[in-house]
């Protein structure tokens, strides 16, 4: 099944790319979107839908199925199947006329205003929107690089990596050890690693209750920490050990061959080792020359890059200010950007930028928590206006309603991206 999916991808990417690209260039303004995830799919959908055919929208995305990172932890916990979190691009093409090109963007010529594809084609644009998500910083966890991702999966891009991690958890020996090497700030989905630990613990509690989970974490504190620690104590007492910087969590090296993790001189033998390295903008942003350091600085008002007013960067890859790198944020930024791009190309009304985010996390069955905030555009950045977070000690009914809300949100955002 996994193999088939990959073969299918490889075969279609090359054959589809060439003919679709020729569709561009008939006098309409052209928008090219690179990356069909939370930011890119939303931007492509809104620009195509709201311009009602006045703008030619091309979406470049190598995968035929997008597996959402959001809810991928729930798949690890057994609450969702892999198919539950897979989405395809048919709706964007048939409902809104987006040209979906399944290929990799490999370069951007900002003078000629073209994007080159792995298949060899060159796609012209008037406005270019990049939402390529993240890549990993080489050498951030000594001993680990991408070639080690099968021995020590990151599962921080969803799909086959997530399936691999789940299979490894299932194969753990009785009483075995799961080690997570948590990432330094900033990274995608601040509560993500800790929701993952919760879901792995939920799974192990059922199938392997004497197993242990160790988190080696370079950060002194993390998102929703009090809520997670309360939940871990309540549901998984004794199973989870957090080694923060006080315990050497910032001084970690791994040996994927031996399956060992060295935390500040103490060597741990792991049965599963989930390495989540430091992150940076998806590589195409760097190739386009719009990054400064690891991320692409953008203007809060419309998500255009500081480097080029015709190139926009959304979501995780952008450096925008106060918003966390989340699917909700990327989706929110995409709508502001879509409104601005449409206005610039067709003269439609441009409304003030408003952003928001809410991240739900599941700690155990029907024990959901959330954190959220609203944001506005200032001259320097996207700035936080107001926020809230779930409280420790909330009653079970509220936690259950919060989980149900997250399911509603998932249905909502995926429809907002793909329908």
């Amino acid at each position: 099944m996994k193999l088939n999916r990959r073969l299918f991808l490889g075969a279609t990417a090359a054959t589809l790319a060439a003919p679709m690209v020729n569709a561009a260039g008939h006098g309409k303004p052209r928008v090219v979107v690179v990356g069909g995830g939370a930011g890119g799919a939303t931007a492509a959908r809104y620009i195509a839908k709201d311009s009602k055919g006045e703008i030619d929208v091309t979406l470049i995305e190598p995968s035929r199925t997008y597996y959402t990172c959001f809810f991928s932890n729930l798949y690890l916990g057994g609450f969702k199947t892999i198919d539950d979190i897979g989405h395809t691009y048919g709706g964007l093409a048939s409902n809104h006329g987006v040209n979906v090109v399944h290929d990799w963007a490999v370069g951007v010529d900002r003078d000629a205003k073209t994007v080159s594809l792995a298949g060899g084609a060159s796609v012209p644009y008037d406005k270019l929107i990049l939402s390529p998500g993240i890549d990993f910083v080489d050498g951030s966890v000594p001993g680990w690089d991408l070639s080690a991702q099968n021995a020590m999966p990151h599962a921080y891009k969803a799909g086959s990596q997530t399936e691999l991690l789940k299979a490894q958890i299932a194969a753990m020996p009785e009483g075995g050890t799961y080690v997570m090497v948590a990432p330094p700030n900033p990274y995608r989905c601040p509560p993500g690693p800790y929701e993952r630990v919760s879901m792995v613990a939920h799974q192990l509690k059922m199938t392997n209750p004497t197993a242990k989970i160790i988190i080696a974490d370079p950060k002194p504190k993390f998102s929703k920490q009090a809520l997670f620690e309360e939940g871990w104590q309540k549901h998984y007492g004794g199973m989870i050990d957090l080694l923060g910087p006080d315990f050497g969590g910032e001084n970690v090296t791994v040996d994927p061959g031996a399956m060992t993790v060295d935390v500040d001189g103490e060597v741990i033998q792991a049965d599963v080792c989930n390495v989540i390295p430091a992150m940076k903008a998806g590589r195409i942003a760097e190739l386009a020359g719009v990054t400064d350091g690891n991320w692409a600085p953008v203007n809060a008002i419309d998500m255009s890059t500081k480097a080029d007013p015709d190139v926009y960067v959304l979501g995780d890859a952008s450096q925008q200010g106060d918003m966390p790198k989340s699917g909700f944020s990327a989706n929110s930024q995409a709508k502001v950007c879509a409104n601005a791009v449409r206005g610039a190309l067709t003269g439609s009304r441009v409304f003030p930028a408003k952003f928001s985010n809410t991240c739900w996390s599941l700690i155990d069955t029907n024990d959901g928590v959330k954190v959220g905030a609203t944001y506005e555009a200032t001259d320097e950045k996207i700035a936080k206006v107001d926020g809230f977070v779930s409280q420790t000690g909330e009653d079970a009914a509220l936690r259950k309603a919060t989980y149900e809300e997250s399911e509603g949100w998932y249905a909502g955002i995926t429809a907002d991206m793909f329908s």
């Binding site: 709508k335 409304f351 408003k354 928001s356 107001d386 399911e407 949100w409 909502g412 907002d416």
Partner: protein, 233 residues
């Protein structure tokens, strides 16, 4: 006043036999007040709100009330011949989503069969002889918050509303489905405005909605209301 009215009305409008079959309408009135009234009106002057008005409900075709925008699901059920009688209503109220998946009725269901019978006995009163409906208690209108008339009078800019609504649609599905998050599609503008101000004033209790509504001004709330009222599936 209401407490006095109902027994009289029962005696007048409902034959003893039917009352026994159905349940206790007096208790049904209480259930209606606590469970249904935020969205539905019944009795004299009843009009469509978030849900359709319920006068003449018994014998009505599902999705059949002129002037109310039903979900596709209920409209289809009606076209397929579904009519509201004791048995169908009883099943629907038990769990609306199971009975008609895709209905916009954001209600988890009334699980107790006795309570359902009481509620239906109460509603039956307004179907029996609609001409005979007693004067409605003015406070029966279930608005949970008062909003100044000049705010209610603002005519919303639906195009701005469409842009603002894109933020709502991250969670609230445009097609009106509601799993865990209620539908706001096709709410009457007034109800929408009242609800949003109730969040803004932190009278309605949800932290996300209090935050979202908190930064919308009166014009923006009106704009959203104008957009959601007319949103097509």
């Amino acid at each position: 006043m209401r407490a006095v009215l109902i027994p009289i009305l029962l005696a007048l409008a409902v034959p003893a036999q039917a009352a026994e079959d159905l349940g206790d309408a007096e208790n049904g009135a209480k259930i209606f007040k606590s469970q249904c009234r935020t969205c539905h009106m019944v009795g004299e002057g009843a009009r469509n709100r978030v849900g359709p008005q319920l006068n003449g409900l018994f014998g009505r075709a599902a999705g059949g009330l002129e002037g109310f925008k039903y979900s596709k699901s209920l409209a289809r059920a009606g076209a397929d011949g579904l009519e509201w009688h004791f048995d169908t209503l009883n099943a629907y109220i038990d769990n609306p989503k199971v009975f008609a998946s895709g209905t916009r009725m954001n209600y988890r269901g009334l699980k107790d069969a006795g309570q359902r019978a009481d509620l239906l006995a109460y509603l039956r009163i307004y179907s029996d002889d609609p001409a005979n409906i007693p004067e409605a208690d003015p406070t029966a209108v279930g608005t949970d918050h008062t909003v100044a008339p000049e705010i209610l009078a603002i005519v919303g800019d639906a195009e701005y509303g469409e842009y603002l609504a894109s933020e709502c649609l991250t969670c609230h599905k445009a097609d009106g489905a509601d799993d865990g998050i209620p539908s706001v599609t096709n709410w009457p503008a007034e109800d929408f405005v009242v609800a949003m101000h109730a969040y803004k004033d932190k009278i309605r209790p949800h932290p996300v909605m209090q935050m979202m509504a908190g930064r919308l001004n009166n014009e923006e709330i009106a704009a959203l209301a104008a957009y959601f009222e007319t949103l097509e599936d």
